[in-house]
């Protein structure tokens, strides 16, 4: 693996910090009065998502993290593992545990395209599509014609996720959800 000197730091660079793969969010050269030069940086841990503020002596190097992001197709879950397939010519499959898939799992249906981050070949995070369209499995009966009151009620989707939907939505309808916020975006008309 190559390594990077602090003066090569830029946003998005992936390096190993304290044994874990991180991405640099921000790096700044600092030089206190008449003193040693430092690089102050923000690192996001790619496994936990936590942001670390760290300062290094200018000129020291950090090992690059062997991290790749791949667009992969979600195949199925067998209850404990989630299976994905590469979309390039290899069609290689990998599996990830619930600890890696995390909240992404509640939005996924077969053939969704996800962004899977691999560290040394092992998946460490899964990002679902920004928008998914899912069918309502359970909710209180729809209030016909009430499209203006602005009221909302909880609804359970076929994947198990719960979102708040407008009162007029009924079981069996398909809704569009923003997975980044977990919010209902609109109703999908039958095509």
């Amino acid at each position: 693996m190559p390594s990077y000197s602090t003066n090569e730091f830029r946003n998005g660079l992936k390096v190993m910090l304290e044994g874990e793969p991180c991405v640099i969010l921000d790096a700044e050269f600092v030089k206190p009065g008449k003193g040693q030069a430092f690089t102050r940086a923000k690192f996001r841990n790619l496994i936990t998502g936590r942001v670390w503020d760290r300062t290094l002596r200018s000129g020291v190097t950090m090992d690059a993290a062997d991290v790749v992001e791949l667009e992969m197709e979600y195949l199925y879950s067998d209850g404990s593992e989630w299976h994905f397939m590469r979309m390039d010519d290899t069609y290689d499959q990998i599996s990830a545990g619930a600890d890696v898939v995390g909240d992404a799992g509640q939005w996924l249906t077969e053939q969704d395209k996800c962004l899977v981050t691999l560290w040394e070949g092992t998946p460490i995070s899964v990002v679902p599509p920004n928008f998914v369209e899912l069918k309502i499995k359970e909710t209180d009966p729809g209030v016909r014609g009430d499209t203006v009151s602005g009221g909302a009620k909880p609804a359970t989707l076929t994947t198990g996720a719960t979102v708040r939907v407008p009162l007029f939505i009924d079981v069996g309808e398909v809704v569009r959800v923003d997975t980044r916020t977990g919010e209902y975006v609109g109703r999908v008309r039958d095509s």
């Binding site: 700044e28 050269f29 008449k34 003193g35 040693q36 030069a37 102050r40 300062t55 002596r57």
Partner: protein
């Protein structure tokens, strides 16, 4: 990169810059401080191990006009100022550019406190009036880091540094530099003078005794966490200058940095006699950026190094 020929500062920023430069020249004109010009390219350079000079076939690009201006003072030139480019190799960032604009001035007969007052007046002229807090290096360390810099041993200091996000290992002065950078980054005062620096960070400031401890009679002005000015009650003792020069060169060798030749003409001027004075250097690009409320010196510089 098709726009790389363009300046990074807006035309408006360059106009404000021009206005501020005129105001600064008026400020000194009204105080009978004369403007001087000394070489940007010199045969010798500074020994400070934390400052690397740009070397050319014809000599060194100066990192500050200090030695030349002191030669003028020793020759009888009165209180004087200079505005011009200075160069520091390898310093690039939001608040750094390898070439930047320095305002440096010397006041005959001033002590550090009088010069601080004048620095505050100048900064008020550029940024508008504000309140200034003054803290000793030790007090700043105590309040922001929560430790006594003198009592803490190396192990404690390193532990403290790690708790504050330091990665790796470092010697005592390096750890101290790091903790100082953290302290000024988080301090609550918008305009802060830090005074009484550790004696090994004196550069060309005199030493004075405070609470039975030798400290450097040196100050820095920090505005909104950014270092703006660095001033000294100037060292007059030529032997002491030689001693510090040799220590710097020893440190340079131990850090595998090129050693620096003695500036014999400057030493001769010191031996001839520098009149009692205080001097200060101000990073003008930073001050202008603060005046315009922008968060980089590129926004007030026509062509920073990546477009130069």
């Amino acid at each position: 990169m098709t726009d790389a020929w363009r300046p990074t500062a807006t035309t408006q920023a360059l106009q404000v810059r021009s206005d501020l430069l005129r105001r600064i020249r008026d400020f000194f004109h009204l105080r009978d401080v004369i403007e001087v010009h000394t070489p940007v390219l010199g045969s010798r350079t500074v020994s400070d191990p934390a400052i690397q000079s740009v070397r050319t076939d014809g000599g060194f690009l100066q990192t500050s006009p200090e030695y030349f201006m002191k030669r003028l003072l020793a020759a009888g030139v009165p209180s004087c100022y200079q505005i011009g480019p200075v160069f520091r190799e390898g310093e690039t960032g939001r608040w750094h550019n390898p070439e930047f604009t320095m305002l440096e001035w010397y006041r005959l007969g001033f002590e550090a406190a009088e010069l601080r007052k004048e620095v505050a007046d100048l900064v008020d002229t550029v940024l508008g009036e504000g309140a200034y807090k003054c803290l000793t290096f030790d007090a700043l360390f105590q309040s922001e880091i929560g430790s006594d810099i003198h009592d803490a041993d190396n192990e404690e200091l390193l532990k403290l540094a790690r708790q504050n996000g330091f990665v790796g290992v470092g010697g005592r002065s390096e750890i101290r530099d790091f903790l100082y950078a953290q302290a000024i980054d988080r301090v609550e005062y918008s305009r802060l003078f830090v005074i009484d620096f550790p004696e090994d960070a004196a550069a060309l400031a005199r030493l004075k005794t405070v609470n039975q401890r030798e400290v450097a009679d040196r100050f820095e002005l920090i505005v909104d966490g950014i270092e703006i000015a660095n001033g000294y009650h100037e060292l007059l003792d030529a032997d002491e200058f030689e001693r510090r020069f040799n220590i710097d060169n020893d440190r340079r060798r131990s850090m595998s940095l090129p050693s620096v030749k003695m500036d014999e003409r400057f030493l001769a001027a010191m031996r001839h006699g520098l009149p009692p004075c205080a001097g200060v250097a101000v990073g003008l690009d930073r001050l202008f950026a603060l005046a315009m409320g922008v968060d980089s010196i590129a926004a007030v510089t026509a062509f920073p190094s990546d477009r130069a």
